[in-house]
């Protein structure tokens, strides 16, 4: 299944075009891109916001008086109360919401990072190999990708979670392992073009082994689409995680993630709005920022001038 939301379609199109057109020759792609990126105000603002969120999520807990799994027996289900130092209120178990939101953000970020890395890693290797070797190898490998696309990803994740237990890292390796499909397609498309380039010819002529060529010459040239895809995937993964939490398959107690907090806060939004507002606000902000950054990156790396 092409990711849970299919945003990668944007990238597939892009990659398809890349394999047909040439990448710009001449000036350094990175410098150019960076320049364009910095001119995009929304993207710059978003990067700043994201950095802020990451810092607060990982450093914040040291400044918060309550631990995220600490139970305050005298303050169960209470709204924000500055005196008791529960700045965002407490949940049904008497745990401090501020601490939990911080921990949840940490978890969601870690999850996003791990899953993205997994999908990048598997996708790049797989796609590069398929694209480079071409022919039957390519055909078979892509067929397998086709088969996997047709399977409902939820099923896989459920089975994975059930078989490997509720380990958060394993769970998100599982998600990452599904998102690699489109990355593989993109990388394959790009590799198909790249392998006709002169420097690859030269490397081949000098007798380099295929895997060396793939690792040393092809992969480094894949940065553009890979980076964009990775950035565009992160929101998908976070949303996927929140959906799994809604089903009860997400991160396990006592830890929590933004998705878990939101699915717990949604049904009681009327009676205990503080349970929902903080994590929702963080999630929405993060996703908006990631979207703007992703868009900015894509615009920046676009070979066409406007």
């Amino acid at each position: 299944m092409p990711g849970i939301t299919g945003k990668d379609q944007v990238l597939s199109t892009y990659a398809d075009k890349l394999s047909v057109l040439d990448a710009p020759k001449g000036r350094s792609l990175t410098q150019d891109a960076l320049r364009r990126l910095t001119r995009n105000k929304a993207a710059v603002l978003s990067i700043g916001m994201l950095v802020l969120i990451v810092l607060v999520a990982f450093i914040g807990p040291y400044f918060v008086p309550w631990g995220y799994s600490e139970v305050d027996w005298s303050n169960i289900r209470k709204p924000p109360n500055f005196e008791a130092q529960h700045y965002l209120g407490t949940d049904q178990n008497g745990r401090d919401m501020l601490a939990r939101v911080l921990q949840g953000t940490q978890m969601s970020l870690i999850v996003a990072a791990v899953a993205t890395l997994v999908s990048v890693f598997i996708g790049v290797i797989y796609g590069a190999v398929a694209g480079y070797f071409g022919g039957r190898v390519d055909a078979i490998m892509m067929r397998i990708v086709d088969v996997m696309y047709a399977l409902p990803y939820i099923l896989f994740v459920i089975i994975l979670v059930v078989m490997f237990g509720r380990n958060p890292v394993l769970l998100f390796v599982g998600i990452g392992a599904i998102e690699w499909l489109t990355m593989a397609r993109i990388v394959r498309g790009q590799t198909l073009t790249l392998k006709e380039r002169e420097f690859v010819e030269a490397a081949r002529a000098s007798g380099a082994k295929p895997f060396t060529i793939i690792l040393r010459h092809i992969v480094p040239n894949l940065t553009g689409p890979v980076v964009i895809y990775a950035t565009l995937t992160i929101p998908e993964i976070i949303i996927a995680e929140s959906f799994l939490s809604y089903l009860g398959l997400g991160v396990q107690e006592p830890q929590t993630s933004l998705g878990t907090l939101i699915s717990a806060g949604a049904p009681v939004a009327e009676v205990m709005p503080w349970l929902l507002l903080a994590p929702a606000a963080v999630l929405v902000t993060m996703l908006f920022c990631l979207t703007y950054v992703g868009d900015g990156l894509r615009d920046a790396l676009d070979p066409k001038d406007r």
């Binding site: 799994s69 008497g94 059930v162 009860g248 107690e253 006592p254 009681v268 009327e270 009676v271």
Partner: protein, 538 residues
């Protein structure tokens, strides 16, 4: 082809519903029923939500009044023999299936035989094991069904013989496992007798439509002998597992009755829709089971420490919000045929700090402490309430030197693990099937050896005490109810003193009922048959 049929069914249903709701005299009840029934066949169901649907269209020898007490049903009178082992029921003359066939004693004989037939694979058949030879037939020991203690003396007389005198037997007969099935239909259509085109009812309602995932719809059965007192003409049993969504629809006026509600909303509901929430004691116990085949849980000191360090008073009122009453014993208060005084251990009256101190002491004696904490995995099935309770209890166990890891899984996986003994401490619950203490106490009986392995049944913790088993066996043959009650109480004391399981709270039934519905009486069985309800406005 099937799609067109389905669409036609939907539009017809829609049109019909519109007709029904616009017809001036038709009174429709919109009941929220939680899950989809797994079946409409009384021999194949086992949940309380299924009971609501099945119990409205089929009636047994005995049925329930608005308070859940047994009253005459299809049988207009009965006699019980001196020794309490033979019950003779006389059926009503007017008792009839909705297809015109009269209800006869043969329907009951046939139904009981089918219930115990191993091929039917009814999961609740054991409820009627007091009937003579039923257990043996169900396990395949006896293959001649005529040996079953249910006989038709003539077309209108049913005679039931029991293994031994059973004080709660009339109560057990109200259960759907004792329902008759239309013999002529089952013989003709087999398991497909419950299809809409075949199904027949002998109760106040008959089922006319089932849209899986959405609702079951029943209409008043005009052939029912008491039809003139049945006020509701049509019932929708809605399927909706999301409780918050169900409450929303109730507030929007789409549901008249909710059979469960999210505990978090309880305080809000009491303020905003006072009088509509019904939270009543319900015969059931919520408990943690400890696997006594695994070290160190075979050590009674560890079990005691775990139990006494739980502050149960916080769980109902604060953690859940619906005020469930703490449970220290194994038999819910209000259970029939029992002693007056509930089991109350001495430590229940100790101040909490003292209990924690004592628990820490016990743990140290058992070899655990801050330097050597006990690592424990607490399993529960995925559910908000179970999770909150587990988190709270884990926090209560930490100070006494226990490191808790929480592990949740789906119902199927959870109970699979409990049964296989693949756990340390797990959450479980038991709702009483009939109003008698033996129903919960049976949970702690030693397992039976079958084909070389122990079958512990529902005794997940594998608690085993010879004295307890002996007392339970005595109680089964004791005819004097008072003496029997005392024997059972003694058994309960043994098991609880040894902490065979950790009871946490007594269940409450949770219903929300619109003020324009009358006839809804709170009762400990949480049974509210639609025939007793009426609706005064739309």
């Amino acid at each position: 082809m099937k799609i067109t049929t389905a669409l036609k069914a939907v539009t017809t249903a829609g049109a019909f519903a519109l007709m029904m709701s616009t017809a001036a005299s038709a009174v429709t009840l919109q009941m929220h029923n939680g899950g989809d029934p797994g079946s409409l066949d009384p021999h194949k169901v086992s949940g309380d939500w299924e009971n609501r649907v099945v119990g409205d269209y089929i009636e047994g020898l005995v049925t329930e009044d608005a308070g859940g007490n047994p009253i005459a049903g299809q049988a207009e009178s009965w006699e019980i023999s001196e020794d309490g082992t033979v019950y003779t029921f006389k059926l009503r003359d007017e008792a009839m299936w909705s297809d015109g066939t009269p209800v006869t004693a043969h329907d009951f004989v046939f139904a009981f035989q089918r219930l115990f037939d191993p091929a039917t694979a009814s999961d609740y058949a054991y409820l009627q094991y007091p009937i003579k030879n039923s257990a043996a037939i169900n396990s395949g020991e006896i293959t001649d069904f005529d040996q079953l203690g249910v006989k038709a003396l003539d077309d209108k007389t049913v005679e039931i013989t029991l293994e031994a005198a059973t004080p709660f037997f009339l109560d057990a007969l109200t259960h759907y496992t004792a329902f008759p099935v239309p013999k002529h239909l089952v013989e003709e259509h087999g398991d497909a007798w419950i299809e809409m085109e075949n199904i027949a009812a002998n109760g106040p309602y008959k089922i006319v439509e089932w849209l899986p995932g959405s609702y079951v719809r029943s209409e008043k059965n005009e052939d029912y002998y008491d039809a003139e007192n049945v006020q509701i003409d049509e019932v929708y049993y809605h399927v909706l597992e999301d409780q918050a969504a169900a409450l929303n629809r109730y507030r929007a006026g789409e549901f008249d009755i909710l059979t469960d509600f999210p505990s978090d909303q309880y305080a809000w509901m009491q303020e905003n829709i006072p009088g509509e929430t019904h939270v009543e004691p319900f015969l059931g116990v919520y408990y943690y089971v400890i696997n006594q085949e695994v070290e160190p849980f075979d050590d009674v000191r560890v079990r005691e420490a775990l139990s006494i360090s739980i502050l149960r008073e916080v769980i109902g009122p604060d953690i859940l919000g619906t005020g469930e009453i703490p449970a220290y014993g194994w038999v819910p208060p209000g259970t029939g045929n029992y002693v007056e005084e509930a089991y109350m251990p001495e430590w229940a009256n100790m101040p909490y700090e003292e209990r924690v101190a004592r628990a820490t002491e016990l743990m140290t004696e058992a070899g655990y402490g801050p330097d050597n904490p006990l690592d424990l995995t607490l399993r529960y099935n995925t559910n908000d309430n179970h999770q909150r309770i587990a988190v709270a209890i884990a926090a209560m166990w930490e100070p006494i030197g226990v490191n808790v890891e929480l592990f949740n899984s789906e119902v199927a996986v959870h109970y699979d693990a409990l049964r296989a003994g693949d756990f340390q401490v797990g959450r479980a619950g038991w709702l009483l099937d009939y109003n008698d203490p033996s129903n919960t106490l049976d949970l702690l009986k030693t397992g039976i050896e079958q084909e070389g392995t122990m079958n512990w049944g529902n005794n997940y913790g594998r608690y085993s005490n010879e004295e307890f088993d002996a007392l339970m066996a005595d109680a089964a043959t004791e005819l004097d109810l008072e003496a029997r009650g005392q024997i059972l109480a003694d058994a309960e004391a043994i098991a609880m003193d040894e902490f065979g399981a950790i009871p946490i709270y007594w269940y409450v039934s949770k219903n929300v009922v619109k003020p324009y519905i009358s006839g809804f009486e709170d009762n400990a069985k949480d049974v509210h048959r639609t025939r007793w309800l009426s609706k005064t406005e739309e």
